[in-house]
């Protein structure tokens, strides 16, 4: 293992993991010296009965919930953030408990930026520029209900602005929550399809962290542990959703992947995945799951040695040394196919097969050029080992759309002409 010339690693989130760990919320609040928490979540969590798992131990300990916002939409935006922040201030809250997936936790981070801002900002859009996010924020406790985004441990928040059709990206160490509570009970109700998509999102975080330009010894180590846990448990949990130990392993895996990519950033799979998601409305986890093998094929000439290293972690006992890099990619494709079967087709393996709830195809061939153009503006490409080229992104999208392996002969970058 080589020590890089320079690196930084920071993961200041206290991670509490275990079956029933959410019961420790009262002690967590006490250790943070707060007593008027605001709970932020979405209606799906309420209907699934998960909110009561959070509220009950607080009520039993006599800790009042100072405010509650349970309607965070799946496409949460600046207006939602601003509305919740007003409620927080009106009710004199002193901390936030975010219960949900990435959207809820990112919304909570946005709220925290406003309520902790010493310049009196009332709108998240006013918080921008160097120096805007260097001071400590109010205590934030994240209770993730999916095992994918890793948002409970990352230093990133993405807030949409529907009016301007822009995504506001905030990055700062102070955005890392104070505590992440990983409890199997909080993900037990996740459907097999969402378990598969979010799990593959986490696996993509880990693999892109390990193969990207921002890697360092600690992000590598976290990524490897994450890969081991996710690859070793994802299919089993999709087939056996009530397996508590498997659920907890996925939660820890996603958390470790979050620690890894938060310190190393992601690459081409997320670059294209972000755009496919926003243009076609496809679930982020499903996007990156489909694109992962293609992104690795594109980068192959720069990362084959790294793919060889992760091969035994992802596919223990079945990889031959001679073709480990190729087998790693093929193994991911096979994993996607098995997840597709286990979810009765819901976990699509090519973009062509992703169907919206109204029965219409989510993506059409016409989208490809639009996505390719827009993807070149995505910031995550800067940490990809190989530069992105418009024509190459088109080739990747065409291959991922129709579901055939990337023809590297057609690729500009990495192809030795």
């Amino acid at each position: 293992m080589r020590l890089p010339d320079y690196y930084r690693f920071c993961s200041r989130v206290r991670v509490l993991s275990g079956h029933g760990s959410v019961q420790k919320l009262p002690q967590v609040l006490s250790s943070l010296q707060v007593s008027r928490p605001m709970v932020i979540t979405d209606s799906g969590i309420v209907h699934a009965g998960l909110l009561s798992l959070v509220k009950d131990p607080l009520e039993e300990s006599g800790i009042p919930i100072a405010a509650e916002y349970t309607e965070v939409p799946s496409d949460s935006d600046v207006n939602t953030v601003n509305t919740i922040a007003r409620l927080y201030l009106e009710q004199s809250c002193d901390s936030i408990i975010a219960v949900g997936g990435g959207s809820v936790i990112d919304t909570a981070k946005g709220v925290n930026m406003i309520v902790s801002n010493d310049r009196g900002a009332a709108d998240i859009r006013e918080i921008a520029g160097a120096g805007a996010l260097i001071h400590r924020l109010s205590p934030l406790i994240a209770v993730p209900t999916t095992s994918g985004t890793g948002s409970e441990v990352t230093m990133v928040a993405v807030i949409e602005d529907h009016e301007t059709q822009r995504k506001l990206l905030f990055t700062s160490y102070v955005l890392q929550p104070d505590v992440a509570i990983l409890d199997s009970a909080m993900t037990m109700t996740l459907s097999p399809a969402l378990t598969a998509a979010t799990g593959m999102d986490a696996l993509t975080h880990a693999i892109e962290a390990y193969t990207g330009l921002g890697k360092n010894p600690l992000s590598d180590a976290m990524a490897l542990q994450a890969m081991k846990l996710i690859a070793g448990n994802l299919e089993h949990v999709v087939k056996n959703p009530s397996d508590r130990d498997g659920r907890l392993a996925l939660a820890v895996g996603a958390n470790l992947a979050g620690q890894a990519f938060s310190n190393s950033m992601v690459g081409i799979v997320h670059t294209i995945g972000h755009t496919v998601g926003s243009v076609c409305g496809i679930h982020h986890g499903l996007c990156v799951s489909i694109l992962l093998p293609y992104g690795l094929e594109y980068n192959m000439h720069k990362i084959s040695h790294l793919l060889e290293e992760i091969a035994p972690v992802l596919h223990p006992g079945r990889v031959s040394a001679a073709s480990a890099a190729e087998e790693t990619i093929e193994g991911i494709r096979e994993m996607n196919r098995r997840l597709c079967t286990a979810t009765e087709g819901a976990h699509a393996t090519r973009l062509h097969d992703v169907i919206h709830r109204d029965g219409k195809a989510a993506m059409k061939p016409d989208h490809i050029s639009i996505i390719a153009q827009a993807a070149l503006g995505d910031g995550s490409q800067f940490y990809n080992p190989e530069q992105l080229d418009y024509e190459d992104v088109v080739h990747i999208l065409e291959a991922a759309y129709w579901g055939y392996p990337l023809d590297r002969e057609l690729i500009q970058k990495g192809h030795q002409r």
Binding site: M1, R2, L3, P4, D5, Y6, Y7, R8, F9, C10, S11, R12, R14, V15, L16, S17, G18, H19, S21, S30, S31, L32, Q33, I134, H135, R136, Y173, V174, P217, L218, D220, A221, M222, L224, Q225, A226, K228, L229, G232, N233, D245, G246, L248, A249, V252, G253, L256, Q259
Partner: protein, 384 residues
């Protein structure tokens, strides 16, 4: 089979390592709204390091409030004066240059300052502890095993608390290269002990594994080029990872006994560790074979056997080892069956007195292992 997924893990320090890492300090302190740091450094050799720090802060809004140049053998009696300096110069943060005792001193004054108390009342701190001052630890290679931890030890005063973690660890390549190789080896011994103790079944979570695996690998990959600057950086990084992992897994029997020897000034912690650790590894291997196998497969480039062998390479260490074993055995009567128990009880009494260590089981097993197994047997490999 999944490993231990029930855990509570916390790592406060941000680690910044490599070329011109010192230059990051200003931004770190400004992130805490801190602009007037107290600087603690060793008088011997510290002036060069201080000069580098001043240069790194030159263009920033951070201006050093006061500097305390300390003796390498500083003691608890030095603490009040440093505390007084911190207050009288209205410092809002602490930068500590150097490894070892100076870092414990920084932790001590920080906790006393925030709790407005003195050393005699260090075990009666308020709960929760009020916010401490932002602190940056600039390290050299001669780690004592506590710098990046949530622990301090000065004379007989010892404390473990998450409030003691430094906020930022700086490992700058310009700070490397001034320490003799023997001191780096001594630090590596301690690092190895921390790593092995972190491997205990009950505490080995995936996050702990994430911190210890790269540390093991750095020790293995760089152990033969210790005189080079990048190897020194790697050893220091390994030490930091091990310390953070160990802060979350707790003291084990090796570090407990080593601390007893250190406090009683019989020998240094690293010397004690070098003698005790092989027995502990043997004990672990015997009782937690599957676990040790999985660690070894993670480590790849270093085997524990190789690492243990390296502990006994110096003649001086061998002699000390015999002395330690002789001392332990002197508690025992001539017949082992009758003699073991009083010896163990005596040691545990001593441990209790010095450390208030409440888990005797592992300690007892380790001491039994030391009495039962000869160094030759350990060195020969056997179960290892």
């Amino acid at each position: 089979m999944n490993e231990n997924l029930t855990f509570d893990f916390f790592a406060q320090p941000k680690v910044i390592s490599g070329l011109k890492a010192l230059e990051a300090i200003a931004l770190e302190l400004e992130g805490y709204d801190a602009h007037v740091p107290l600087v603690l450094a060793y008088a011997a050799g510290g002036s060069r390091e201080l000069k580098l720090l001043k240069s790194a802060l030159k263009e920033s809004a951070v201006s050093i409030g006061a500097v305390c140049m300390l003796d390498r053998k500083l003691s608890s009696s030095d603490i009040p004066e440093i505390l007084e300096t911190l207050s009288s110069y209205e410092c809002d943060s602490i930068i500590t240059i150097g490894s070892g005792m100076v870092q414990s001193a920084a932790k001590m004054i920080n906790i006393l300052h925030s709790c407005d108390t003195d050393m005699e009342h260090i075990h009666e701190l308020p709960c929760p502890i009020p916010e401490t001052l932002p602190s940056v630890a600039v390290l050299t290679e001669n780690l004592d095993g506590r710098e990046a931890t949530n622990r301090l030890l000065i004379d007989e005063y010892r404390l473990s608390h998450d409030a003691l973690y430094p906020d930022c660890i700086i490992i700058d390549e310009r700070m490397m290269g001034t320490v003799p190789i023997q001191q780096i080896s001594a630090s590596a011994n301690i690092t190895l002990a921390l790593l092995c103790e972190s491997c205990r079944e009950e505490s080995l979570s995936p996050i702990v594994r994430g911190w210890i695996v790269p540390a093991f690998r750095f020790l293995g990959d760089y152990q033969n080029s210790i005189e080079k600057r990048d190897a020194r950086l790697a050893h220091t990084n390994a030490g930091i990872y091990a310390q953070i992992a160990h802060s979350n897994t707790g003291y084990g029997p090796v570090t407990t006994l080593a601390e007893v020897f250190e406090i009683s000034q019989f020998c240094t912690a690293s010397e004690a560790v070098a003698s005790i650790l092989p027995y502990y590894v043997r004990h672990l291997h015997k009782n937690q074979r599957a676990l040790m196998g999985s660690i070894s497969s993670d480590i790849e480039t270093i085997t524990l056997q190789k690492a243990i062998d390296s502990l006994w390479t110096h003649e001086g260490q061998r002699a000390l080892h015999e002395q330690i074993i002789a001392m332990l055995s002197s508690y025992a009567a001539k017949t082992p069956e009758r003699g073991k128990q009083p010896m163990i009880e005596s040691l545990i009494r001593q441990t209790d007195r010095l450390l208030a260590h409440d888990d005797h089981t592992e300690l007892l097993q380790l001491i039994t292992c030391m009495v039962d197994t000869s160094r030759t047997e350990i060195a020969a490999g056997g179960d290892l």
